[in-house]
Symmetry: C2
Subunit: 293 residues, 2 copies
DNA sequence: CGGGTCTTTGATTAGGTTCAATAAGAGTGG
DNA sequence: CCACTCTTATTGAACCTAATCAAAGACCCG
């Protein structure tokens, strides 16, 4: 009853998958339960050039429904996960039960890496929407790395990418103002949506203000207030989970306030007020469930 | 002239090493210019069991003097570094020239990993003391990984360790109060010193308050004030760069203040005042230069 | 000893949190 | 289908932590 209302989510699913039963159960829709190496590389956005397309290896998929937990902290580690579709969050739980959001994995992201070191997952992953994940058993990965040097390099590369991302987070949390953090968050989201082929101008947030706040090191109130402020200025439109990007450049340049100088901000910017509430493109919805690729 | 007085440090050394010249120059002291695979594993604190001790492979060492830059942001990546002795900092430079400290690598730490992804270092590494580093060419690493499966696993493990560390940083920056951050910083340092065989109770900081502040997402004034406060309460003794740990448990349990409750703190704790200024054990000094192993 | 860097400490300000109340959705079950 | 409940979101007001501005002392190096 503290400040962690997520408790419900966490108890509702007593660790489902990893039991082939739950995998081979229903979920025949889309009939895409296995991927080959090439598809794997494609999803990860790494060159699959030198990969022998005649490779026999196949990688199993697993589906999770909104709210389900993919893995828990302390659970024995043996496989990495690659998001094929859907949205998740990874969190750390501190000694008081408070959760700290670490990332919001989406298509093409790899997670579970933190389990390699201690042989146990260091974080918890939860589905924020219905998800389709590709299982990548660590044993298989290392074996594969030995057979395909390019793939090995690619895996190192992906892990490096994760590290750089974390560094950027640290940098952001350590130096940017609340407004700048929220602005960057929106810009990053927008770019990710663009990468995935969705609209970068209009999309739905899959996470709560509380989760965004945790991720950005802010309170949910501050996030809400900041979004409202951006809305007032005409940088975005906000309606609950629906976000419309109106002035991407302003959001991008809205850096820190701290440096005392440069405090002129982009104040006189747009005052469009943006009364627009509906636009022709609606990229997602809760319908992203198992529809991608 | 902004808030980055480190400029001096950064201009004094126009990228020295990586030119075998500067390596094979003087520095014959200790005569430890190469390490074999076993030594490498030992330093990294990973099992070297299955490693053939008759392995021919040798890894070159390089020495850097205080203030020298090991690599810069954007510089082409080709090698990883393992700290054999000495202290460093890795930093990110933002668009305004401000630096954000990401880590303080010391014995056994690996850095340069962020360069794998984009083929260029994403951060900058600077020696905070004279250092002895082991060069680990990335090409060599991958080749080695193929020949020695255990080593490959170990490398993934080390990278995973780095990621977990970053996650912990994010968590700290996102949720802990200034006091809690400084306390944890001291505890971590203390433990690292213990690991390295130094005293965990009395040691010298190798970084400035400014660097600590950057690392912890605080200003140098706050760091200074917090250290003074800890001193007042008797948790530590502070004299410039010299820190004496007086109540490790209190520092460890000094978590967050935020949760409103649990605000009792460990107030009535020790009021020893600690007038002690000199103790029998003095672990380091600027003399750590090339004396370890 | 002098210039520069680093550290400490104080006074003041401000950005963000906390507490609190209301509103808007989403889900449940009669 | 609507009442009821629970979660999520918005907004306001007061408070407080840490940043900012400022000044003086300590240390280092040439």
């Amino acid at each position: 009853m503290l400040s962690t209302p997520m408790t419900e989510n966490r108890t509702e699913s007593p660790i489902p998958a990893l039991h082939s039963s739950s995998v081979e159960a229903g979920w025949q829709r889309q009939g895409k339960l296995w991927s080959n190496l090439k598809e794997l590389c494609d999803v990860l956005r790494i060159p699959s050039a030198a990969v022998h397309t005649d490779e026999e290896l196949l990688f199993q998929h697993v589906q999770f429904k909104t709210g389900q937990r993919i893995h828990t902290i302390g659970q024995p580690f043996d496989t990495l996960y690659i998001v094929h579709s859907g949205f998740l969050k990874t969190v750390l739980i501190d000694e008081f039960g408070n959760e700290q959001v670490l990332s919001f994995p989406m298509k093409g992201d790899l997670f579970g890496v933190d389990g390699i070191h201690t042989k146990r997952y260091a974080s918890e992953a939860v589905a924020l929407s219905n998800c389709d994940l590709i299982l990548l058993p660590f044993k298989k990965l290392t074996a594969l790395g030995r057979a395909h040097p390019e793939f090995e390099h690619a895996m190192y590369s992906v892990m490096s990418r994760e590290l750089v991302r974390e560094q950027a987070m640290v940098s952001m949390l350590g130096a940017l103002s609340a407004e700048a953090r929220v602005a960057r968050f929106l810009v990053n989201l927008s770019e990710r949506y663009a990468d995935m082929g969705y609209s970068s101008k209009l999309f739905n947030l899959r996470m709560t203000r509380h989760e965004i706040g945790s991720y950005l090191g802010l309170t949910l109130e501050t996030v809400s207030r900041t979004l409202s402020a951006f809305n007032e200025i005409g940088l975005i439109t906000v309606d609950q989970r629906s976000i419309g990007i109106k002035d991407l450049d302003a959001l991008k340049t809205l850096r820190r306030l701290p440096p005392s100088s440069t405090r002129a901000k982009q104040s006189g910017a747009k005052k469009a007020k943006a009364a627009a509430s509906k636009e022709p493109d609606q990229p997602d919805g809760e319908w992203d469930s198992l529809a991608t690729a």
